[in-house]
Symmetry: C2
Subunit: 216 residues, 2 copies
DNA sequence: GCGAGCCGATCGATCGATCGGTAGGCAGGG
DNA sequence: CCCTGCCTACCGATCGATCGATCGGCTCGC
């Protein structure tokens, strides 16, 4: 009996994201032309990058003229900044909202939320992570603070588990990079062709995280 | 006693890479103007992206005029294609060269090589992974084949370990995405400010991978 | 004097951004 | 009811700058 491995491993393509499903967190107002611009920019920036998308590309996708864009946003960079803000605030809120009775449960819920954010909003995650460099330092600063805080949150949980001798991990910092890194990459491959729900991926990755820190 | 966590977690910055150390595999000829162009393009494409780097940016970094570039490469895209080719061939060669007596040792060495490739050549890895979308499908095709083969190689090792009942993992595909994903992200944060050697990171990540598949 | 390597000048196209002006809905006075 | 005035939303035309790429010609070493 042989295993059909070509079916087990879906072919990933050249794109930076596995989906074209434009989706923004429910807290974001999407009505009117401003919302339309935000949604089309999300798709274009994710697929072609900030510098690979022109003002006219964006306007054409919104079915408006390029001049109209400036009635809603002062510049192309401000559109990106708004998407980056939304992405980082949504992600950070999920991390902070994750609760747990002990270190194990806290790590599980935090990783679950981390992965869910990347699987449910892949376009937003890709833009937030891959186009951050295109922002001026001033416009990127708020996102950088949220990133640092999120890393620290994960670091604290792991340090807590170590000091309680519930976790057994060779290096706390490398555990943070590994756990956050594997979750971030989900945004690059998760899409319609992948036979998993975001919840399934989040649950399994949370289990992986507990294995990494030696708690499972 | 409190832990100085600000020292434990180095501040990462807005950049796409943690280093500016231009390095290419030894197999690549770096002599002459063609090599110089390749090296400067590696840095610029990694830091600013393909579309964020102009022909004149690249020429200026090489201390030549933009017209001279076309004496060495037919187009800007061909420069990127060459970097992508070098990156994927070097990475794939390392994976294929990884040996091991059993499933555990094979997974350990493959993950070690995977991580080493991303830690020793972060700029090359970032360009290969993040700028692949900027290539036309024809020019990206060879790299896509190498990527698919590398994924399959990892998948085969994990399936082998599962069928031998050496590994205990809830889902083989998600283990592949998690292990390869955490290794790929290393290229984005590893740099001079990080107090680990590539070998230390590779060794620890290989241990993490074995924990993920339930073999450690 | 010949080929290799480089460059100044320039091509048409496109870039991000700005301007004055127009169309349409709505409020208030007659 | 109509008329007037205004405000919001949008657009055509165009700005100077920069884009990727091309060409003929220059300057060397051999």
């Amino acid at each position: 009996m042989t295993i059909d491995r070509s079916a087990a491993l879906p072919d990933l393509d050249q794109r930076r994201v596995g989906t074209s499903d434009v989706r923004l967190p429910p807290s974001v107002l999407l009505e009117g032309t401003s919302g339309r611009i935000l949604r089309e920019a999300l798709l274009l920036f994710a697929e072609q990058g900030f510098h690979g998308t022109s003002i006219r590309d964006l306007a054409h996708a919104c079915q408006i003229r390029s001049a109209t864009l400036y009635a809603h946003y002062p510049s192309k960079e401000h559109v990106l900044a708004e998407l980056v803000r939304i992405g980082h605030e949504a992600h950070h809120a999920r991390l902070v909202g994750a609760q747990g009775r002990d270190s194990v449960e806290r790590l599980r819920t935090v990783v679950r939320e981390h992965v869910l954010a990347h699987a449910e909003y892949p376009l937003l995650a890709v833009v937030s992570n891959n186009e951050l460099h295109a922002l001026s330092p001033e416009m990127a600063a708020p996102a950088m603070l949220l990133r640092a805080d999120g890393r620290q949150l994960l670091m604290d949980i792991i340090n807590e588990g170590i000091s309680e001798e519930v976790f057994d991990v060779p290096d706390a910092f490398l555990a943070v990079t590994a756990i956050s890194g594997m979750g971030m990459r989900v945004a690059n491959w998760y899409g319609s062709g992948v036979p998993y729900s975001p919840e399934q991926i989040a649950e399994t990755y949370a289990d992986f995280a507990l294995r990494i820190v030696g708690a499972a």
